[in-house]
């Protein structure tokens, strides 16, 4: 991972890299050591966070080198104190989205393979004997679909619980007011 960060530092202008590159690598090393103690998931999210920060920082510095200004809206660090919401995107949602994306990509690839294996001219289909129909594959597919839908549903509910949406809906302003009086 550190080699990857080092490679990303090459996106920065040379002068900036000379001035801060060594220090940044020291900090990245310390962050990585700390996250490793917290587990693989923490390390993964920290890696994504740091990668985003490095890429965005490099683009900002390149922009500054070109224009001599940071005041371009999204790159600006000079904006007035920005109120950040207490809302934090639950980490589980990111994992869930990755799983869904992987499933979609897998399905597309599978569909392409099936499409390639079928000849374009459909062969004539003769009479199908009842013994030729097997229930097992369709049953397996149904069960698998149910499990996948269940997992996705659970993931969504888990994500909502992490965001506290259901706690908000359970709040009763009238009861709270009475409690406060």
């Amino acid at each position: 991972m550190l080699a990857f960060y080092r490679a990303l530092l090459h996106l920065y202008p040379a002068a900036y890299r000379c001035e801060f590159g060594g220090e940044m690598m020291d900090v990245l090393q310390e962050v990585q050591a700390e996250k490793r103690k917290k587990g693989a998931l923490a390390l993964l999210f920290s890696g994504a966070h740091e990668t985003g920060g490095l890429v965005f920082g490099a683009v900002r510095e390149r922009f500054y080198k070109l224009t001599g200004s940071y005041d371009s809206g999204i790159f600006s660090l000079r904006r007035r104190f920005a109120m950040k919401s207490e809302f934090r995107f639950p980490k589980s949602t990111v994992g869930l989205m990755v799983v869904i994306l992987a499933a979609v990509l897998f399905t597309i690839e599978k569909a392409k393979a099936v499409s390639a294996s079928i000849p374009h001219a459909n062969p004539p289909v003769g009479h199908i004997e009842p013994s030729q129909i097997t229930v097992l594959p369709s049953l397996l597919i149904t069960m698998l679909s149910a499990v996948v839908i269940g997992v996705i549903g659970w993931g969504i509910l888990y994500a909502l619980r992490r965001t506290g949406v259901q706690q908000l809906s359970e709040m009763n302003p009238a009861a709270n007011q009475r409690g406060g009086e």
Binding site: M24, D26, V27, H49, R60, E61, L77, F81, E86
Partner: protein, 104 residues
């Protein structure tokens, strides 16, 4: 120079005593109760701006075996931070009064 939340947290972290990069990251996260997690890229982007504006200065830590670079507030930086904190104090006081008036 106007102050964003990450920049304010960096300045507040250095207001106590000089710190090096990783210590600033940890302190910013602690001060914001884990809400603001600065990435290394964001931290050094902000530090570069603050050095440019001469709000902070860099020096080599003497007691560190690796001679780490540390950062501290300049007199101008501390003055600007005090101005910013005073502005925020006024704003929160007005906000408190307005909210209280609305509730009564």
């Amino acid at each position: 120079m106007e102050v964003s939340e990450p920049v304010l947290l960096i300045l507040l972290s250095l207001a106590e005593h000089p710190r090096h990069g990783y210590a600033i990251l940890q302190d910013a996260e602690r001060m914001s109760d884990g809400r603001v997690r600065l990435s290394t890229g964001t931290l050094y982007g902000a530090l570069a701006r603050l050095l440019d504006e001469k709000w902070i200065e860099r020096f080599k830590e003497q007691d560190s075996s690796r001679g780490k670079q540390a950062y501290r507030l300049t007199a101008a930086g501390r003055r600007n931070l005090q101005t910013e904190v005073a502005r925020m104090r006024r704003l929160t006081r007005v906000a408190g009064l307005r909210v209280a008036r609305k509730e009564t």
